[in-house]
Amino acid sequence: MALLQVRDLSVRFVRKQEPTVSAVDGVSFDVQAGRTVGLVGESGCGKSVTSLAIMGLLPGRGTEVSGSVRLDGDELLRLPRRELDRRRGRDMSMVFQDPLTSLNPVVPIGVQISEVMERHRGMSRRVARGEAAKLLERVGIPDPGRRLKEYSHQLSGGMRQRALIAMALACEPRVLVADEPTTALDVTIQAQILNLLRELVAETGTALIMITHDLGVVAGTCDEVNVLYAGRIVESAERHELFAGPRHPYTAGLMASVPRLDTPRGNRLAPISGSVEDNIPWEDGCAFSPRCSRALPRCSERTPEIEPIEAGRWLRCHNPIEEHARNTERPHD
């Protein structure tokens, strides 16, 4: 059995006086130890909500979570808070999207790192402080002794992200969720952080869930990829398979909008027409149909189901791109 097993995960936000938001709808995937699984999609498609649901970090009020998240076979969604807290930070941890707001501004970085080890590894404050320095060194922060005493506002964006990673790694978790760990950073630092995460997976056998809207990041890190649209997985495949030939029109659109070195300048970006706001609820057919160039009449009548099309590959589409059309498909040129 997979180390982390997500089955039919759904999250709905129910608010008074506001329409219910179905942010995540029937998402299923597995993560094996030592593998990196990507969750990819445009802003608002439910990536962060999925990862927060896995970690049990969604706000309690007005949030309905259903489905199943199993770590080593133990159901996390129905675990009492005390039990969950014994695992969070130790067996599973998370690197958050926005390092500046995710660090406590009035607590020194060192305390924020060592408190995890005091909690889960039974270390004294002094020993944990020493470990924290080693961790900072490992994530590539120079002069860790000084940095430990500093506060988040004294660190650069890249260092903050590294500190957050150090914090997440403090107990050598078996599952690490990285929510857009490089979005806020410039390109060189992006590359360094991705390298760091790759090394980690290779060295410790951590299972990594890599959340991003950037297919370039996916190509550089992931073993498997789940493409999310409006809260549902629309295509899921091994990374090589996916890049060799996307079958879902949305995946193809995402790929066409990635800048590539081999396409001539001036013709580099082919964004998907329309925006996420254009999507329709899945109940009324395919949510992507208002933006899809391959849409058929039945696409807006019958909701496509997710189906296996070959080993390790799933697809949710009435009119997928044919296999022989691989690589030449550019739906919006």
């Binding site: 927060l52 970690m55 970090l57 969950l84 807290d85 014994r86 695992r87 969070r88 930070g89 130790r90 941890s93 998370m94 958050f96 926005d98 707001t101 995710s102 660090l103 406590n104 501004p105 009035v106 607590v107 020194p108 305390v111 924020q112 408190e115 995890v116 909690r119 889960h120 506060y151 506002h153 004294q154 957050l164 914090m167």
Partner: protein, 336 residues
């Protein structure tokens, strides 16, 4: 940080000078004056003129002010003409200050000790019974005038139930030693525990009345601030680390939530001092508040000047301490 403190102390001097000029002019612009207050309406012209001469009130205003400053820097603020005629004004102030300070400190302590935890738990369980109850209570706290509340407390607990003393600072029969003028502290220093306890009991009702407004404000700010902080990403990060409830509360929520509360506490000093004037009336405490109201009735320039100036200085100093505390909590402010 040191430079900042020095600069703030410099501001204190400027505040003192500006306020003293305004105060000096304003008091003398009020109708009446110490002479008619002392001698009454029917005094002869002669005796009036003599007293005016004696007090130096016939000289031009700027000359009077300059003399006032020259004496003030040596600690001489003139002689009381109305509150305690013949006693140096500074002495009147020093005698009465401990009573007011004791009362205000206990009131503030009550407000903080009750307001902060209540605000935290009300915010934590927003919309729960504790939340609703505390909000109602704090609304009553700000809506009911201190004066009325003081009367009510005195009537119910002192007169009807006889549970607590109705007035004064200490039972006269106790005959305690008063080394500092802070009666509770005096008792503790000399080991006269019954005296200390008695003084404390005398303080309870007035302090409870005086604490209502600061309590209401501190409670509401804490609650709002906790609600804000609970939404912050770093609290979610703390939860993602599986930390215990106590660490999350103390280290991550409260430390951040206290920042606006600390500022509020400083601003409440003003409300406390004005509330003390009314509370001291009701409970017949010979404090600064009483000196102030007597001073106005009897047009005692010397006492009013020293009391108002000293009160303003206390206000500025308390707010300096508040700012330093703020900087101690928030590292982002330390670099100034």
């Amino acid at each position: 940080m040191l430079r900042y403190t020095v600069r703030r102390l410099g501001q204190l001097v400027i505040v003192a000078v500006v306020l003293s000029i305004l105060l000096f002019g304003w008091l003398r612009a009020l109708p009446g004056g110490p002479v008619s207050a002392l001698l009454g309406e029917r005094a002869t012209e002669e005796s009036r003129a003599q007293l005016v001469e004696q007090l130096g009130l016939n000289q031009p205003l700027h000359v009077q002010y300059w003399k006032f400053v020259q004496r003030a820097v040596t600690g001489d603020f003139g002689v009381s003409t109305g509150v305690q005629p013949g006693t140096p004004a500074m002495e009147v102030f020093l005698q009465r200050m401990p009573a007011t300070l004791e009362l205000s400190v206990l009131a503030l302590l009550l407000a903080v000790v009750v307001g902060v935890p209540l605000g935290y738990f009300a915010g934590r369980r927003q919309g729960g019974w504790l939340d609703n109850l505390s909000i109602t209570w704090s609304l009553i706290g700000v809506a009911v005038p201190v004066f009325f509340l003081a009367f009510l407390l005195k009537y119910v607990f002192a007169i009807e139930l006889g549970a607590l003393p109705a007035s004064g600072r200490q039972e006269v029969s106790i005959d305690a030693t008063h080394a500092t003028g802070f009666y509770v502290l005096d008792g503790m220093l000399t080991g006269e525990w019954d005296a200390a306890w008695n003084a404390f009991l005398h303080l309870l009702l007035p302090a409870a009345a005086l604490s209502t407004i600061p309590f209401a404000v501190i409670f509401r700010i804490t609650r709002a601030s906790v609600l804000d902080v609970l939404e912050e990403d770093f609290v979610r990060t703390a939860r993602s680390k599986g930390l215990g409830a106590r660490v999350i509360r103390g280290r991550h929520v409260l430390r951040n939530a206290m920042l606006p509360v600390v500022t509020t506490i400083g601003l409440q000093t003003g409300a406390l001092l004005s509330g003390a004037v009314l509370t001291e009336q009701v409970f017949n405490i010979t404090g600064i508040g009483q000196a102030l109201s007597l001073g106005f009735q009897r047009q005692d320039y010397a006492v009013l000047q020293v009391v108002i100036l000293a009160t303003a200085m206390v206000y500025v100093l308390v707010n300096l301490v508040v700012d330093l505390t703020y900087a101690a909590i928030d590292p982002r402010l330390r670099e100034r």
